[in-house]
Symmetry: C2
DNA sequence: CCGCGAAGCGTACGAACGTACACTCCCGGC
DNA sequence: GCCGGGAGTGTACGTTCGTACGCTTCGCGG
């Protein structure tokens, strides 16, 4: 093996092309042929490098998970204290819901798979785990968990809403969840 | 028309079968033939009742949205005061993430479509709008919006987590978001 | 310089797909 | 009692798909 006429980039180009295509057209419309065309490789390479289309998809989403974990690391890992962590969370929500349409779509595709197949759920577990590790540097475990869920909800609603909420609302929600004092429920019952 | 040998239930049976099949196998694997077989109708009925498979999917998800809006109405509409609303929200999160695997999967499929196609986004808008109408009976608009996002995040994370969080955590998160007092950030910076 | 085994590719095949459309069947009007 | 037409269906066509597999290409040990 490794005779020199192998092309180690082939595999990765195929995986990238797969993710691009899924982001654009959806899992329902990807095929070996379209991926091969986009990656600029012959059709035969598909079955040579991957045992089947399921194998290909699993590996592609593994790659995507690595990427998104890196995005979380980048944002949350740099925070030095609690306030910076709150800022970082707000940045994360807005970046994910606004700038990277691609990541958003791929995230949804992954969740859809995860909702049905345990194999894909493993990928989301690792992602959630890593995210919580960062948050637990600044908040207690329960708060970290709530905050993690809040990030998810805010990002999704912001991305799908007709009129996305502003940063102030994101910041307020984060502040509320990361505040222990819950002795003062709101006074009046009619807002 | 209406000659008596028409079958008005045909259409709805097809739509139900479509949703069942999507829930079980995913949008990527549905086909006219499988749907027809499951609904117990001949293949020809597919193109007779629906102009194409896109038309069929849109209508099916419209039907699903009606259903899920009804679930929200049922839970949130009955709440008489703020505390009952909080309880209702907690119930909603736990019912969606625990009991109805089908609804969860279909929700994800819809979000995936919505992330890419504006036509499907309309359906999620209506759903979010309706949900907020209920919440705004008890909370101010900003809080309602945050709570709506929180429901989304808690439900999803609870459904996908290896060890789903307990009700206490859900309740705590809801309490925090629906509490205005944010003058007391946590004391120490190392939990 | 020569073959040999691995690396990679082109092609072909069977299955499944969406859709069009000629057809049957049956009710209501006469 | 019959016939016109609309409701509903069976089938067939062209396309696209995943995958298998025989073939070519090429670096390297002898």
């Amino acid at each position: 093996m490794a005779t020199g006429h192998t092309d180690p980039q082939r595999r990765e180009r195929i995986l990238d092309a797969t993710l691009d295509l899924i982001a654009e057209e959806g899992i329902a419309r990807v095929s070996h042929r379209k991926i091969a065309a986009r990656a600029g490789v012959p059709l035969g390479s598909m079955t040579y490098h991957f045992s089947g289309i399921d194998h290909l998809l699993r590996e592609a989403f593994g790659r995507f998970t690595d990427h998104i974990v890196a995005v979380f690391d980048e944002h949350l890992g740099a925070a030095a204290d609690r306030d910076q962590a709150r800022e970082a969370v707000a940045d994360l929500v807005h970046e994910l819901s606004e700038e990277s349409q691609r990541d958003l779509v791929l995230t949804q595709e992954l969740y859809t798979l995860a909702a049905r197949q345990p194999a894909y759920r493993e990928l989301t577990h690792e992602w959630m785990r890593r995210s919580r590790v960062h948050l637990e540097k600044h908040f207690d475990p329960d708060t970290a968990r709530q905050l993690d869920a809040l990030i998810e909800g805010l990002t999704l609603h912001r991305a799908l809403a007709r009129e996305p909420h502003g940063r102030a609302l994101t910041v307020e929600a984060i502040a509320r969840v990361t505040t222990t004092d819950r002795s003062a429920p709101r006074g009046s019952d009619t807002p």
